[in-house]
Symmetry: C2
Subunit: 340 residues, 2 copies
Amino acid sequence: MATIEDVARLAGLSRTTVSRVINDQPYVTEEKKEKILNAMKQLGYVPNSSARRLRSQRTETIAVLLPRVTNPFFGRLIESLEEEASDYGYQVIVCQTHDNKKKELDYLNLLKTKQVDGVVLASLANDWKDIEPFLASGPIVLCNEYMENEQISMIHIDHFQAAFDATLHLIEQGCRHLAYTTGGHQTHITQQRKNGFLRALEVNNLIFNPELEICGTLNVEEGRKAFYYIKERHPYVDGVFTGSDEVAAGMINAAAQEGWNVPGDLSIVGFDNQMISLLMVPAITTVQQPIDEMASKTIQVLVDKMHNKNHSMEHRYIYPYELIKRSSTGINAAIPTASK
Amino acid sequence: MATIEDVARLAGLSRTTVSRVINDQPYVTEEKKEKILNAMKQLGYVPNSSARRLRSQRTETIAVLLPRVTNPFFGRLIESLEEEASDYGYQVIVCQTHDNKKKELDYLNLLKTKQVDGVVLASLANDWKDIEPFLASGPIVLCNEYMENEQISMIHIDHFQAAFDATLHLIEQGCRHLAYTTGGHQTHITQQRKNGFLRALEVNNLIFNPELEICGTLNVEEGRKAFYYIKERHPYVDGVFTGSDEVAAGMINAAAQEGWNVPGDLSIVGFDNQMISLLMVPAITTVQQPIDEMASKTIQVLVDKMHNKNHSMEHRYIYPYELIKRSSTGINAAIPTASK
DNA sequence: TTGTAGGCGTTATCAC
DNA sequence: GTGATAACGCCTACAA
């Protein structure tokens, strides 16, 4: 592997001059610049990134921590984050935590070991007290996940309000016996959604049966199970707020197999407006987050912090969402099929 | 940021000894080891990764180049590759090429600049002659993509045979007028699939109308368009081999809206056995690739090359696939609805 | 405009 | 067992 030294020798000049050419700095005559460029080409010289990093103390790399890329929401998010980061000249390392506390901390260590300049946290398995110390090693920005805390910038939608709106929509469609499903890992987001759901019931003088909170539900298969739980244990349920289009899809799929009519017998709301929500029959009512805008702002805030080491204020950016009403919830909710 | 020097000073020992402790090397008395560990803890010392990389000339990092993570097949693949790599102590950088030649070459440059020790190529936008020079900088393994070439190891299924089997299945179900859709970027894979498709027609003495090759089709929306193209221009078509479950899903969705019966009026085969293929009504007949096994072998081969710098032979690993028959193809294919 | 020299943080070599 | 010292490849005062 050719080094800067080799190039200098071949060109009959010093390392300094070569370095100047590499970094497009002034004070090099065209003639010598030419000579050096030739030497570089001839040797197939490429600057060694580890050496540059060590010297400059910067990696031009960002770590993105998220539960899993196979969740389409995070797939979209990473795609968007990567594109934006690339515009700023940053490379992205995707870190899948699988909602595992240890993995999350291991990946945060990339910051300590100076393998990345900053972190986007789209996963949050640990308590804040365990995350906070990492701030000393570099900037961290929260995207999607959030909490009550002002020590860190956050980019997210209002999940309380989104759940409230979605639940209200179910109630407006005539649902009176509502169930609620929540994902595998309990975070502030799921808590907020639950609160929004409960609040919507409350303002409509509906009472909530705690047995209708179905936990650990985060994919299609578990959506199917959730349906059977309702069918077998609480068949009077007429509406469900799921935190996920995949769960909603699983429920619809199982419901169809069992001869239940959606939304006639059961109205279902998903989350994230994934492709699947539009393809299911019936199409799924869902909440859409402005992923691209959130990703863009996230990188922008993080890059800003990485550049102005100190004095950038922490700030919370709350983005608007959209409740997309489709056929999985409907006014026919009041007309159950005979079979039910 | 504390350095090894700081630790040494605080512990009253030399950098060398500290280094020994960091790397679990012998020849350090328990007593001094203890002292050093304490000093490290006290200072919050973490070894600097850039310095280690420079010194060791290794990054413990692998780049995975793929078109896009939002394609569920690649989502699954990256999840699996990452897990396997992590078992070998390697970190993964996900590089989305979007089938762009320049991006692909830019990312391959990570190898030249020594930012990664090896590359998994699951995208292949460039000609081999443009990729080949990078082999001088480090090992590259092809996963999913492949070609006729013996200079590099490849892990993949037999796409010719898979397409052949899928097409044969359509024919066995009574389809006689077959169409074929292909993704955005033309690669060896798409060529192989096309050949397999054509060969199946040939051995059954069916002729192929070139107008029924529908190109540039790689997502749900384009699947919908493909359906309308068939409906409006070639309504006699009774079977389609798509290279993608998403395209198949889009076609089924549009077909349902237009009152076509699948498979009665049109049988459809997808590819990859994505979640959606099971959720659509009808469920989609599809080809399943053994993603985990392929990912595992890919990393294994790559790691082996990274360790035995020179003498590991190139080898092609062909994995078995499975044609999963579901309701989107069926013997009712011969009974079109009146509306068609 | 160009070159010299020192150091970024580690680890390997060799001497003690 | 332990420690000086010399790289790894690059950048940047500072000197010329």
